[in-house]
Each structure stands twice: as structure tokens, then as C-alpha cells.
């Protein structure tokens, strides 16, 4: 295998969001002395971990032409259940962690199964699920409960030779997601389904199985994100996941994934997550008034989707 064959096309096809990220970082480093410290860079990476996991999970669903609006509240539910569990069963950290991951996967499985069985638009089903999960959270608690455990705290805040532990986990997850989506048969089938569900079905692919798997993976990633968030907050805050589903979708779309599916670039999605985190950090450091920050974020979302247009704006069929 010739390395140049792999590397050169990779750079020449560098997605626009990666350029945007690099430009933002360069701008920040030039104009803001506080921004260019190592400590701040590590902070941004640490802050972006939750969204990174969530966006990676969302990427599987969107690549297949589906969508998952329930992940935000699922993160909230996992955060609450995890912290309650850690407190209720001291010393049983690992089983609780596994239970939380299972919870994520089960909710994903319910989403996938219902979409398959009821043949409903995914947007509506997961939108309904969002409300159901929020109800579940508030049935459990209406205020912050429980507490995190040192192991989870370490994942969220810890540093291994100066590198955030969460960053290492994100990199591992990204590699796995990259392999699954862009280098495996499962990924190709999923993308084929995103391109055209009916064509994929006619080609003999198990479309229902693919959808179910995509949702289980999305749920699982939401479970991981929930645990990391539990570590970051140190407590189970019932509203912890509000709005995260939209952030994750924005990150996936910023990463060049069409909402219709059929194309995905995991590295670009990670770049999009870091871009959002860096912008927020830079605007804070540059003392941009908070209301202006909100406006800028909205404009970024609109510009991003308009600029990505030529890459995937196929005529609606």
C-alpha cells in the first residue's frame, strides 16, 4: 500500500469545515493571547467531549437517512440514572456504568423497532420519544440528584500526561466510528440505505435491521455522552440534555453530512464539534456580549448549511 496514495487525496479533499476550524484556531491564536495557551486548548477539547460522542452517534442515524431527536433527553436520563445509581450502590460503579450504556442502547432499540413496526417518519417518532423521555426524567427527579464517582470524574476532567482523558476516549470512538461507517460493509449498506431506501431494499439489504442497528448505536453513544456529562457536572441534573439533540444534528450537518443521508465524513464531524466549541470559547474570551454570541451562532448555522450546499444539493426526487 502506497502511503502517498492515501494521504494526498485526503488533504486535497479536506472538508471545508476543517478549513473553518483551522482558520478559527489560527485567528484566535494570532489575536488572543489567552486563547493560545495549552491549558485553554485542553479546556476546549474537554468541553467538547459530550457533544462529540453525541454527534458520532447521530452520524450513524443521519448517514442512513434517518434522524434521532431523542438523544438530548436520553443524555439527560442517563446522567440522572447514572448519578442516582452511583449513590445508591456504592462500590458498584462498573455495573451501573454498564447499566447506563444498556439503557442507552435499549432506548435506541425501542426507537428503531417502533420506526420499523409502525412505519412512521423518524422525525416524528423520535420527537415523541423526546417528550416521553423528558417525562421519565421528571418522574425520577425534579432536581439535581446523586453524585458522580471518581472513575467517571476522571474520564470527564482527568488528564493523562497533560492530555484530557475524555479526548483520548473521543479519539478512540472516532476511529471506531470511522471504521464502522466508512470502511466496513455495515457502513456501506447504511450509506446505501441513506442514498435510497427503496433501492437498498430492492438490492436485498435488510433495511429494517440497518435502521435498528443505527438507532442502537446512536443510543449507545448517547449513553456514553450521558456518563461523561455526569462526570462533568458531578450530579444528575434533570435538564442536562435540553437542546443537545439539535446541537448534535447541527454538528453532523456542519460536518458535511446531508440530512438525507448517503454520505458521511466522521473526521469532518469531529472537526465540526471542535469548531462549535472553539467559536464559543473564542467569543467568550474576546468578550463579545452574550446576546451577540447567540446571533453569531445562528448565522454560523445558516451560513454553514448554505455553503455546504454544492456538495450535496441534489434535486429533490
Amino acid at each position: 500500500m502506497n502511503r502517498a496514495q492515501l494521504v494526498i487525496p485526503f488533504f486535497s479533499r479536506l472538508p471545508p469545515i476543517v478549513w473553518a476550524l483551522l482558520l478559527t484556531v489560527a485567528f484566535g491564536a494570532l489575536y488572543n493571547p489567552q486563547f493560545r495557551t495549552v491549558d485553554n486548548a485542553m479546556n476546549v477539547l474537554e468541553q467538547s467531549a459530550t457533544l462529540a460522542f453525541l454527534a458520532l452517534g447521530q452520524a450513524f442515524v443521519i448517514a442512513g437517512g434517518l434522524i434521532d431527536l431523542s438523544v438530548g433527553q436520553l443524555v439527560g436520563l442517563v446522567t440522572v440514572v447514572a448519578c442516582m445509581g452511583f449513590e445508591a450502590f456504592p462500590g458498584w460503579g462498573l455495573p451501573v456504568i454498564l447499566g447506563c450504556l444498556l439503557l442507552g442502547a435499549v432506548v435506541g432499540a425501542i426507537n428503531g423497532t417502533l420506526i420499523n413496526r409502525l412505519r412512521m417518519p423518524p422525525l416524528i417518532l423520535t420527537f415523541g420519544m423526546l417528550s416521553v423521555l423528558q417525562g421519565c426524567i421528571f418522574m425520577l427527579t425534579d432536581r439535581s440528584v446523586g453524585s458522580s464517582i471518581p472513575a467517571i470524574d476522571f474520564i470527564a476532567h482527568g488528564r493523562i500526561t497533560g492530555i484530557p482523558a475524555s479526548l483520548i476516549l473521543v479519539v478512540i470512538a472516532t476511529v471506531i466510528a470511522f471504521y464502522c461507517l466508512q470502511r466496513s460493509t455495515f457502513g456501506w449498506h447504511l450509506l446505501a440505505m441513506g442514498n435510497s431506501a427503496s433501492a437498498a431494499r430492492k438490492a436485498g439489504l435488510n433495511v429494517r435491521g440497518l435502521a435498528l442497528n443505527a438507532y442502537v448505536i446512536s443510543g449507545l453513544f448517547a449513553g456514553i455522552a450521558g456518563l461523561v456529562l455526569a462526570g462533568r457536572l458531578g450530579t444528575g441534573f434533570p435538564n442536562a440534555g435540553v437542546g443537545l439533540e439539535l446541537d448534535s444534528i447541527v454538528a453532523v450537518v456542519l460536518g458535511g453530512t446531508p440530512l438525507k443521508g448517503g454520505r458521511v465524513n466522521v473526521v469532518a464531524i469531529l472537526a465540526a464539534v471542535l469548531f462549535l466549541g472553539t467559536i464559543s470559547n473564542l467569543l467568550n474570551l474576546m468578550q463579545v456580549p452574550t446576546f451577540t454570541q447567540i446571533l453569531i451562532k445562528g448565522i454560523i448555522v445558516i451560513l454553514a448549511i448554505l455553503l455546504e450546499r454544492p456538495r450535496w444539493a441534489a434535486a429533490p426526487q
Binding site: M84, G85, E87, L229, Q287
Partner: protein, 358 residues
Amino acid sequence: MTFLKSMLTATMAAIAVFVLTGSGTAQELDLTKESTYDQILEWANEPLDTSQYKKDGKLKIGVSAGYLSNAWINFTAQMIKYEASLHPEIEEIKITDAGFNPTKQAADIDDLLTSGVDAILFWPVDEKAIMPALKKAHDQGVVTINIGYNFMRDPSVTSNAYVNQWGYTEQVVDQFIDSLDGKGKIIAMLPIAGSSAAVVQLAVLEQKLKDYPDMELLSAEYGDWDRAKAKQLTENLLQRFPQIDGAFSPAGQMSMGIYEAFDEAGRLDELTLSPGDDYNGWVKLVANEGKWGSVTSGLEVGRAAVQQAVDILTGAQTTTAIVVPTRYLAPEEAKELHEPDRPDDWFKTDLPAEYLPQ
């Protein structure tokens, strides 16, 4: 499919176990007990050792707002800016807004630390959720001052600027029971479910009602500090209960929604409202009706927090917390508080014109 089902059952069972065994053991302060507040007032009078925080030269102050999108908080933020302008040693004041998101607030506090502030004034979205970030601030020798609803007693929190919520609500309840002559069926309109304000208000009301067997609390609702929501909830209550003699609502914003619902149902003459706060729309209503009154909401807390930060950073003598008093104002006095030419969404303050929300 069966595998899925068994997984589901197992998860549900696990959740059930958590619920039964795990809820709420880590409450540091019991908000529902009067004795907690006596304890707080005691703590507030302890002297604070400021020597370790003393800084020479110019000061940089950071403000981490859990949210900025309501009038009270907005005026508090303006109060902070104004007070900061009166202290020549403060060279910079920097405000971040987390928009009700504790994760963002933790990140905001990180960012404030990165930009090298000497003190962080904050009101939390959730006290526990920003503890890790506050600990980081504390470890870097940065002064942290809480302006939120709850008193925070923790090594990571240097000081509190605090409005005594128990005392405030007591003033509201006492006046309310008095104007009902200690009898009647009442409803309660509380803020966001689970917020400490809602917990405290309900606790005070229930404790006081114990002494009045002729008073009955029909229903407690959560109006989210939202005039529209309070109105809708009251409309439903009016449908459910043929007789409602009074409504307990310490937040003037929601009292207006209640008032309108009674008015539109043609049942205004049966309504006795509790005093509200100094929200301009409410005080206008008090001025119009000539009854019910107001309890001041302690807007001075923002200025007190800046003063406290300066005291600590210059090594002056101070106590661990500043408690801002609140006061009941009878209708005649409350009238003075209202500014008829200003919008409802407003508070009367002594801010100079350039510091009023533009």
C-alpha cells in the same frame, strides 16, 4: 425480540430500584426547615479571613450568569456593572451567559479563569452541577461569590451575597394570611418545579398553614415565573374549584396572570392575592387596586456582591456572607415603587439613566 424485551425489563427494574433506594441523600442544607436559615444567618456573621485573597493593583471581575433572559436578572446584572463603575480599582468586568445550561456555565467559568479574573460572581443554573468548575476556580486562588437563590456552604465558594428566601416568603405569607383573616380555600402559584425557590415557598406556606386549621391549600401549581403559564393554570383551577378565596403568589409576574384569569372568569371579587414582589407590572396593579402590597425582592444583591468582592480582594474586613434584607410594603407605600410610564417588565431602581437596560 425476546432479547430486547428482557433487556427492557431489566432496565426498568434497575430504574425502579434506583428510585426506591437512591433519591436525595446528598442534600447539604435542608431548605424546608426554618432552622436551616437561622444557621445561615449565623454563618453569615462569621468573620472571613481575606488575607489569602489580597491583591495589589487593578482588579478583574468575572460574572457567570446562569441566565440573563429575565428582567430581574437583567437589572441585577446592570446593578453589578453600575457598582463596578464606582470602584476605580476595577479595571474590567466581564459577563458570560449560560442560557440555563449548566454544561455551558461550567465552560464559561473555565473561560473566565483563562482570561485571568480575580473574582467570579455567579448565579448557578444548578448549584451542584457547577461545583467541579468552582473547585477549579478556588484551587487557582480566585474568589467565588454566589448570588443565586440558595446559600452555598462549601470550601470552593468564598462568599455569598444572599437574599433570605425564608424571610422573604414569611413576609409574604404572614401578610396573606392576615388579609384572609386566617380562613378560606387557597391555591399556590410557585416558580419552576424543583427550583429551590419553589421548594422554599411551599415549605414556608405549609408550615404557617399548620396554625390555621380554617385554611385549606387546594392545589399548588408551578407557573415557571411565566405570566402566560400562571394564567392558563389558574384558568384550569377556576374550572376545577367552584370556590377559591385566595391565591398565594410571591412572584408579581405570575400574580398578574392569576389576576387576569379571575377577572376574565368574572370571579375577581372572590380573590385575595398575597403580596407580590417589586415587579413593575405588579406594582402598577397594586397602585390601581389599592390592596395586596409588595415585598421588596432584594435587587441590591448585585451591588452587595461587587462590594464584597472588592472588600475581599483588597483585604478589608468582612463576613462570610452579605445578607440583603427584604421588607413588606403596604399598598400605599408600594405605590411609591411603581413607575407608571415604564413597561410591566421593569423594576424601579436608583440606577442612573446610562445603566438602565438600553
